[in-house]
């Protein structure tokens, strides 16, 4: 249902690099994943934004970039398909301090495919 009060959503995009292998492509290979994180919330009257940019950067760095960037994800997760990774990343942020602000996490694997 469409709301009749206009609301803002903020999206920031991050680079996360990792390698994986798949059933149909069992050789280890990697991608420069683009992770698009969308957050909601009321406009903070003091700062004029929904969420602090530095705050979002810190959370993403702590929970995704530091532990995962440049790693072999096929050793870290039971499945390392794009569908599965997108889900793990979303659930990781959902359980973090970003929790209630998080609306969606979309992932672009290559120019030709994304996991919305």
């Amino acid at each position: 249902m469409t709301l009749r009060t206009p609301v803002p959503l903020l999206t920031k995009r991050y680079l996360l690099r990792g390698s994986h292998k798949l059933d149909f492509e069992p050789r280890l290979h990697g991608h420069d994943y683009r992770i698009e994180i969308t957050v909601k919330g009321p406009l903070d009257p003091k700062c004029g934004w929904i969420f602090s940019r530095d705050g979002l950067d810190r959370i993403v760095k702590l929970h995704l970039i530091d532990p995962l960037d440049g790693k072999d994800w096929s050793r870290k997760f039971p499945f390392s398909s794009g569908e599965a990774l997108r889900h793990y990343f979303f659930e990781t942020l959902k359980a973090s301090e970003l929790g209630t602000h998080l609306v969606s996490l979309q992932m672009q694997e290559t120019e030709k495919n994304r996991f919305p």
């Binding site: 009060t5 803002p8 903020l10 406009l43 700062c47 004029g48 934004w49 609306v103 969606s104």
Partner: protein, 150 residues
């Protein structure tokens, strides 16, 4: 091929503008501003090549098959973004004297202005349902009647 058209349709159009801004709340001390806004607080400001996408929904004119002519949309978008283009938002735009020109607030400003231009045009039955404002490739704000937002 079906010959009848649906009653309503959606369309979107882009517009570009380049503006300077700084994040600064006069009610806070210099130190607090620095802590909250970091590099966005610099007294001179800095700029972005903003990309605005405006999304419209409205009745299809049976005479033309269109909701709105792109030329008419461009006239409205130009009237709204023109005054911002190549200006310092904090210094030159009265609305942003008291409101921090964050991407969220600029998106809200654009949404409300396009809405009011639309309502006073001959396309008052067309609704602006969303704007997406890109500050750069890695940061954007959607503002409008968003289905995903609770």
């Amino acid at each position: 091929m079906p010959h009848s058209l649906p009653v309503t349709a959606r369309l979107a159009r882009k517009a570009y503008f380049s503006s300077a801004h700084r994040y600064f709340n006069p009610a806070l001390s210099e130190k607090e501003n620095q802590e909250i806004f970091g590099s966005c607080f610099s007294p001179y400001g800095h700029g972005h090549n903003y990309v605005l996408e405006a999304y419209f929904e409205g009745p299809i004119d049976p005479a033309t098959g269109m909701v709105m002519n792109l030329h008419d949309i461009d006239q409205i978008l130009k009237a709204v973004v023109g005054p911002l283009d190549h200006h310092h938002l904090n210094f030159d735009i009265p609305y942003f004297k008291s409101i921090i020109p964050t991407t969220e607030n600029i998106a809200k400003y654009l949404f409300e202005n396009i809405q009011s231009h639309l309502q006073s045009s001959s396309f008052s039955k067309v609704e602006l349902y969303k704007v997406r404002l890109h500050e750069n490739e890695d940061l954007w704000v959607d503002y409008g009647f968003l289905e995903a937002a609770p």
